[in-house]
């Protein structure tokens, strides 16, 4: 026991030689902080300076964000969980690697000065500070922080993947197994099989399929995939629901356009399929006129809508 103390005593000067005392102590403090808040340090002005001290032998990934509801930073809230996830995943690795890279969150309301110093207006931002000293100092000697590129998205997966470039060992992040989804799928499958005897006739009835087909094609041809891939909003701000520009559209347009298409199509079908079967001339005549007018009006509505999207389109019918 005593011996051990002595050893420690002897070891001490060596440590001193290895790393300047302050750095070491800072690191230990940081490790503590990190452990306290499962893997992600909550920074303020002081700890920020500690973390990013020019003598740091460690690297760090700092999330600059504004989580306070008053700041109304929706993306911050979206992003924060995945950052926490990755942080937690990192806290799982072996101590010596773990303590040479830190995850930290710097909230605007706790460290305005830092934000001002960095001159940052937008959040969230992830800065990755490479080690500025010691063995892990990057070969090219670049110690300035690099910024995580959000074009990879807010999800934890890509974040971990990208940050792994800067950590001593890859971040052992695994996407949590989505029980509910798979469970749901399995359940629905079971239910389907069970109910096959009852829904069978419906599935075999061709008009079910017809409906499905037509709806699909209507939705697709009115730009649903665009809104999905581009994540276009349902409507624009200030209540406008037509996106300006030819190569752009809002979610609501999809619906409206699909409806117009559907109406026109059904009007045609009416004229073609239903009307000839009406036995009384007068009613038939009424129908023909009605549907013809519907077609004409809806068509001109569609055109006017298109003229809004594509200025310089020369043709119009009614409006």
């Amino acid at each position: 026991m005593l011996l051990l103390h002595f050893l420690a005593l002897f070891a001490l000067p060596l440590c001193l030689a290895a790393v300047p005392k302050d750095a070491q102590s800072i690191q230990e403090e940081l490790v503590k902080l990190a452990r306290a808040n499962n893997g992600v340090i909550k920074l303020d002005d002081r700890t920020y300076d500690m973390l990013t001290s020019p003598k740091r032998t460690w690297s760090a990934a700092v999330q600059l964000t504004a989580l306070d509801p008053r700041r109304r930073c929706a993306p911050c809230k979206d992003f924060d969980p995945s950052f926490k996830e990755v942080g937690r995943a990192w806290s799982g690795v072996a101590a010596e690697q773990r303590d040479s890279h830190f995850f930290a969150t710097l909230d605007f309301d706790h460290a305005m000065t830092v934000f001002q110093k960095l001159g940052i207006q937008s959040a969230p931002i992830v800065h990755v500070y490479p080690a500025a000293d010691g063995p892990r100092k990057p070969a090219n000697g670049r110690t300035a922080p690099s910024t995580y590129d959000f074009s990879f998205g807010f999800e934890a997966g890509p974040l971990a993947e990208q940050l792994s470039h800067h950590t001593p060992v890859p971040i052992p992040y695994k996407a949590p197994f989505n029980w509910s989804r798979w469970g749901g799928i399995a359940a629905s499958g079971v239910i389907l099989i069970a109910a096959l005897r009852f829904v069978g006739p419906i599935l075999q009835w061709k008009w079910t399929w017809a409906l499905g087909t037509v709806l699909t094609s209507l939705v697709m041809t009115s730009g649903y995939m665009f809104t999905r891939i581009r994540g276009a909003p349902w409507t624009g701000g200030n209540g406008q629901w037509i996106a300006p520009g030819y190569q752009n559209q809002f979610g609501q347009e999809t619906q409206v356009v699909a409806m117009i298409y559907g109406l026109l199509a059904s009007a045609f079908l009416m004229l073609t399929v239903v009307t000839p079967y009406t036995s009384s001339p007068s009613r038939q005549k009424a129908q023909v006129y009605l549907w013809s007018i519907v077609i004409f009006i809806m068509y001109s509505v569609l055109l006017s809508l298109f003229r809004v999207k594509n200025k310089g389109y020369p043709f119009k019918l009614l409006l």
Partner: protein
């Protein structure tokens, strides 16, 4: 003979006369449609000239010239050392030769009959010519679906619909130009084979499938559509020996043939794109066998056993395929295909694909622009297909769903949607016309008299001719379709259906004709305005309204061709690779066939990093000239500064710690080129080359970039490692020469500074000397 008819029709016509007249009219109509299809694609030639458009066509054109001049075998194993310098490119093995082969054949055929047509003109006019064939193929296809009148309508639609014209105007010499014809004809042959169960048509389908494989990467669409159709039929319990014969003959011959194309090789048995076809083929064999046994064996249990075993075998087969895929014997979906399903995939993992504008999703206006009123006739047509659900209609329905999804995901796949839209719309429209042109009133009992088919002849102007012709060509078969209609009436009452009165008819028909005419206007307008400019030549208009041609690209390319060394290597962003190879005839680092991501990333890095960093890269690839496109002076928005971020992104993909996209944005995350532009941006080679001496052009006034609408710094960037070699008239193309290392071994920056100092002293007297002169 007291049929109550809405309008008088001569009843005393012999059936033969009617038949002949209608067939004659049909031929005339088809001829006029072809004429219209070709004519409406010539805007580009008339407004500009007979020139190859865009980017990829320039490569096809170049390859075709090689084929025409050096013969097929030379072309077949043509190694192009000037592309992808220094790697080079094995062209023969990395292209779909169908297009070049086609025009090569046409070329030599014309030569043979002493018509020495310039190969360029053949290439330029190939697409319009084939569009006429497409119209014909669509006619045949739709005829199988409904009847001749629908066929003619469909032909007319596809002939002038912008969705197809956009890829087949004169000069857009690309694979799609011939592919759509092949697509439609293969489908027609398949339907024919499937209906008649003739191995002959199966083989025809196979042969055209082979042609398609040789012509366009989109052949995978056929490879999956036909099996899908077959599978659907089987699931609907519509298996028949006809289906078996048709499919087997198509698959066997088609697959073997397709494997002859070197670029395809063994993919048909090695990649997932082709597994569906293989699987369905196997399934069909099993079922056929089962049917055979069933027809011979009577025992009930045995049959059930057999049935079970069939299912089991089928499952086993699929399991085997899946297993092989996991084992890696069968390659999984390639990125391009995969990105159709997982729409986020491309942007993350293959930015090069994502960066192409025609791979963006489609917003609804483009749909309407390209298909106009067909787009809402399309669902109606699909419903009508469901109404009489014959085997071939199943095909159309599947096609409709799949194609509309694809078209939604990628703009360029609008092309595959267009034919089916035309077909279904034609079915809907001609059904309407049939109903309302049919003269007889419901109470009539006797068979339909043939309406006289040559009333209301109109002298048509070419573009609106087809549609009018439709109306006339529609009546002849009206009788037969009426008969169909009657028999198909679900209400099994004997009462004949129909339309009362003349006014209703007139109203609907007038409405219909109005729509058709409007459609013609629309198509003409769209074609002439949107789809007929050969992005090589830009057109602006003078103050007096006359057309002013901006020809900077060719100016610069031709300068390169005439005044630089034969083997001078030109570096540019990959978009311009093919054009440089085609027009300037100089080696390029990267081009539009983006097969080597790293190489492209290298160029991206050179462009986006500072001179000092870029110079070694340039020297290593012995680049002599660097070419950039700069629209800032006249506001040409498609320039390199606007594409710059993609270069950065692609470079970042390979050198994440040297190039970082955020460094090219301002603190506030804006993309600026003015004083606020971040230093990384200002130092980047691209920025420097674009704005070099740009400010001086404004003689002290505040220089403005007309594209970005921003005010660039008064003191422009300086270049130490590059020299301005040429700048085109409107500054769109700027070419820089890479300096050789300094002979005295100084680094070029200091050498330059020294030069500057000396020059300033030396240039003093020069004005005096001029004064004497």
């Amino acid at each position: 003979m007291t049929a109550t008819t809405a309008y008088q029709v001569p009843a005393n016509l012999s059936p033969t006369t009617v038949a002949n007249t209608s067939s004659l009219l049909r031929i005339v109509a088809l001829a006029l449609i072809s004429g219209a299809a070709i004519a409406s694609r010539l805007f580009a030639v008339i407004n500009f000239e007979s020139i190859i458009h865009e980017f990829d066509p320039w490569f096809n054109y170049r390859a075709t010239k090689v084929l025409a001049s050096e013969g097929f075998y030379a072309f077949w194993n043509w190694f192009d050392p000037t592309a992808w310098y220094p790697l080079g490119r094995v062209v023969g093995g990395t292209i779909y030769p169908g297009l070049m082969a086609t025009s090569g054949v046409i070329y030599s055929a014309l030569r043979a009959v002493h018509l020495p047509v310039d190969i360029r003109n053949i290439c330029v006019l190939l697409a319009p010519g084939f569009s006429a064939l497409t119209a014909w193929a669509t006619y045949m296809f739709t005829k199988e679906m409904k009847d001749e009148s629908a066929g003619l309508l469909a032909a007319a639609f596809i002939g002038i619909v912008p969705g197809y014209i956009s890829r087949s105007v004169a000069g857009s010499y690309d694979n799609e130009a011939i592919a759509i014809f092949l697509l439609m004809f293969t489908f027609f042959a398949w339907i024919k084979a499937m209906k008649t169960g003739s191995a002959f048509f199966g083989t025809i389908a196979a042969l055209f499938y082979f042609y398609m494989v040789a012509a366009w990467g989109g052949y995978a669409f056929i490879t999956n559509m036909i099996p899908l159709h077959a599978l659907a039929l089987i699931l609907m319990g519509r298996y028949s020996s006809r289906l078996y014969v048709g499919y087997s003959s198509w698959y066997a011959v088609g697959t073997l043939a397709s494997m002859q194309v070197p670029f395809v090789g063994f993919q048909p048995v090695r990649t997932s794109e082709h597994m569906a076809a293989l699987g369905v083929f196997g399934l069909l064999q099993i079922i056929a066998f089962a049917e055979l046994v069933r027809s011979h064996v009577s025992s009930k249990q045995f049959q059930t056993l057999l049935f079970a075993s069939v299912i089991g075998l089928g499952l086993l087969g699929t399991a085997a395929i899946v297993g092989l895929t996991y084992k890696g014997w069968i390659a999984p979906w390639t990125g391009r295909f995969y990105s159709l399903w997982d729409t986020g995939y491309a942007k993350k993992y293959i930015p090069i694909i994502a960066s192409v504008s025609e791979h963006q999703p489609t917003a609804w206006p483009s749909f309407f622009m390209d298909l106009q009123f067909l787009i809402f006739l399309f669902p109606a047509g699909v419903i009508l297909c469901f109404k009489q659900l014959r085997d071939e209609h199943v095909f159309v329905i599947i096609y409709a769903i799949v194609a509309s999804y694809f078209a939604g995901v990628m703009v360029r796949l609008m092309l595959t949607l267009t034919p089916v839209v035309c077909v279904t719309a034609a079915i809907a429209f001609s059904t309407l016309l049939d109903t309302y042109l049919n003269p007889e009133e419901p109470e009539a009992i006797d068979e339909a008299p043939k309406p006289e088919a040559s009333t209301s002849a109109v002298a048509p102007d070419t573009s609106s001719a087809p549609t009018k012709k439709q109306k006339k060509a529609a009546p002849p078969p009206a009788g037969s379709t009426l008969a169909e209609l009657v028999t198909k009436a679900p209400g099994t009452s004997k009462r004949k259906t129909g339309v009362f009165g003349l006014d209703t008819r007139l109203l609907v028909v007038a409405n219909a004709i109005g729509m058709l005419v409007f459609f013609v206007w629309h198509c003409t307008w769209v074609t002439s305005n949107a789809y007929s400019s050969p992005s090589v030549v830009l057109a602006s208009s003078n103050p007096d309204g006359s057309q002013h041609i901006i020809d900077d690209f060719r100016e610069a390319y031709y300068w390169l061709r005439q005044n630089t060394a034969e083997d001078a290597v030109v570096m540019s962003w990959w978009d311009y690779g093919y054009q440089i190879a085609g027009m300037a005839d100089r080696p390029t680092l990267v081009d539009n066939n983006t097969w080597n991501n790293t190489h492209i990333a290298t160029v991206g890095k050179a462009m986006s990093s500072s001179e000092e960093v870029a110079y070694p890269i340039l020297r290593k690839h012995d680049v002599d000239y660097v070419l950039v496109i700069f629209g800032g002076l006249i506001g040409y928005s498609g320039d390199d500064i606007n594409k710059f971020l993609w270069m950065v992104r692609i470079a970042q993909g390979v050198w994440p710690d040297e190039i970082q996209e955020p460094n090219y944005f301002t603190r506030t995350g804006e993309y600026r080129v003015d004083d606020q532009a971040p230093q990384t941006m200002k130092d980047s080679l691209m920025y420097k080359m674009s704005y070099y001496r740009f400010a001086e052009l404004f003689g002290g006034n505040q220089p403005t970039d007309r594209v970005r609408g921003q005010q660039v710094p008064k003191t422009g960037p300086t270049l130490d490692y590059l020299d301005e070699a040429f700048t085109s008239e409107n500054w769109i193309v700027r070419i820089y020469q890479v300096k050789k290392e300094d002979p005295l071994g100084r680094d070029l920056k200091t050498a330059n500074a020294f030069e500057q100092g000396k020059k300033r002293k030396r240039t003093k007297p020069s004005p005096r000397r001029k004064a004497i002169a």
